[in-house]
């Protein structure tokens, strides 16, 4: 393999990555953040002083926009990874692997994930959240 002094042709810097490949990247990224998130949360729950989580949540709740963003940042990886995972399982049966089907399912998953994660975060629409009465009581 006389590769010696030969340069490697550029890849990520020049390739126009289409949407399905970005969805695969985000799937891996959300998978990683979910895993790390759960672990960090578990460790924090072990070592944190009592009332730590309640205090931080109350502080965040004071700034509605940041709170909403925070809730969305927690729900989106979960929902996206779940739906894309379902698509991977469907692919494992051999279905939906045509180019048309892949693009259609991409748009569908992104739309669904954004819609559902935002619904969960804002407590609006199809997922009424239990936090609203508690905040109102304050």
């Amino acid at each position: 393999n006389a590769t010696g002094k030969r340069p490697l042709s550029p890849h990520l810097t020049i390739y126009s990555l289409p949407l399905p490949s970005w969805m695969s990247v985000v799937h891996r990224a959300t998978g990683g953040t979910l895993a790390m998130g759960f672990r960090l949360f578990g460790i924090a729950a072990l070592v944190a002083p009592t009332g730590f989580f309640d205090c931080s949540l109350n502080y965040l709740a004071g700034i509605p926009v940041i709170f909403l963003l925070f809730k969305w940042a927690v729900s989106f990886p979960y929902v996206y990874h779940f739906f894309n995972g379902l698509r991977h399982l469907i692919w494992d049966t051999g279905r939906g692997l045509s180019l048309k089907a892949v693009h259609r399912s991409c748009y569908f998953i992104v739309g669904m994930a954004l819609f559902i994660s935002f619904s969960i975060a804002s407590g609006a629409g199809i997922f009424p959240s239990a936090e609203k009465p508690a905040l109102a009581a304050k």
């Binding site: 490697l8 042709s9 890849h11 390739y15 490949s21 692919w91 692997l97 892949v102």
Partner: protein, 282 residues
């Protein structure tokens, strides 16, 4: 008002029409040069310490064929004879001129030059060792192809039996090969796969895997189980994460992603124990 005045009023466009006709004749006689800029990857191995760089060429599209390969040939003929690239059939059947055009892997002879004013970027196939300019080293790719034994293997026949009679196949079995046999091994798909970029040494890549599947699914071939047993390791097939860049970029419209999905199903269903016994016994 006389009739003449009325006629003049009713047909005011005649003067305008004459003007347009003369202008059209002028432009048809001397077409304005349609300049398109090409930014092409250059690397010269004969110059010591040379670094790869982009070189911009300007081509008049009125004096050049419609495809990117025509532009490359025009550049080589008229501007820079040192520009190096592979080409042969100029009709999309040999697979020589595969390269990265405008961010996508395709065949230069099938890629129409976009008539926009932006510069067209041309690179060699991604993550391959470059021999010169747009010519990558394909030896690893060809080695991986030979490793899957892309030929018909039959059991229980002797040297004397070969060529005596044709191996018959039903119409349905032949239909299974449609979409698989048309592959021209241009390597556009394999070099578009990020998994193949990171693992070209051990992962076989979509092109080779689709051909492996083509032989597994050929009813005339008797070694299906052994072919499947060859894939039983972490890297050969299972680096595929269904990213689907391969199907998106195939210039012949084939679907390697689907072939790999079907092969994964076969790997899950066949009896691995028996196949290994057969493989080691032969």
């Amino acid at each position: 008002m006389s009739a003449k005045d009325l006629v003049k009023l009713l047909r005011p466009q005649s003067a305008l029409v004459k003007l347009i006709q003369t202008r059209c004749a002028q432009t048809a006689a001397a077409p304005q040069p349609k300049i398109k800029k090409f930014s092409i990857y250059r690397f010269d191995p004969d110059k010591p310490g040379d670094k790869p760089k982009q070189q911009i060429y300007e081509v008049d599209l009125n004096k050049c064929g419609p495809m990117v390969l025509d532009a490359l040939i025009t550049i080589k003929d008229t501007i820079d004879p040192t520009l190096t690239f592979r080409r042969s059939c100029r009709e999309g059947i040999c697979g020589s001129c595969s390269m990265n055009i405008g961010g996508e892997n395709t065949l230069a002879c099938l890629c129409k030059i976009p008539e926009t004013s932006s510069t067209l970027k041309v690179y060699p196939l991604p993550h391959m060792y470059v021999i010169k300019d747009l010519v990558p080293d394909m030896s690893n790719f060809y080695y991986q192809y030979t490793s899957i034994e892309p030929f018909l293997k039959k059991k229980g026949i002797t040297e004397a039996d070969i060529g005596k009679e044709s191996y018959l196949q039903s119409v349905e079995d032949r239909a299974k090969l449609d979409g698989l046999y048309e592959c021209i091994l241009c390597a556009c798909c394999s070099t578009s796969c990020p998994s193949y970029w990171w693992n070209s040494d051990k992962y076989l890549g979509p092109a080779v895997l689709m051909q492996a599947y083509r032989w597994m699914v050929d009813s005339r071939d008797d070694y299906t189980d052994e072919r499947l047993a060859m894939m039983e390791d972490k890297y050969s097939v299972y680096r595929c994460h269904t990213i689907m860049n391969c199907t998106k970029t195939c210039p012949k419209g084939l679907n390697p992603g689907l072939a790999i999905g079907e092969m994964k199903k076969m790997l899950a269903k066949y009896d691995a124990g028996k196949a290994n016994e057969k493989a080691y016994a032969s």
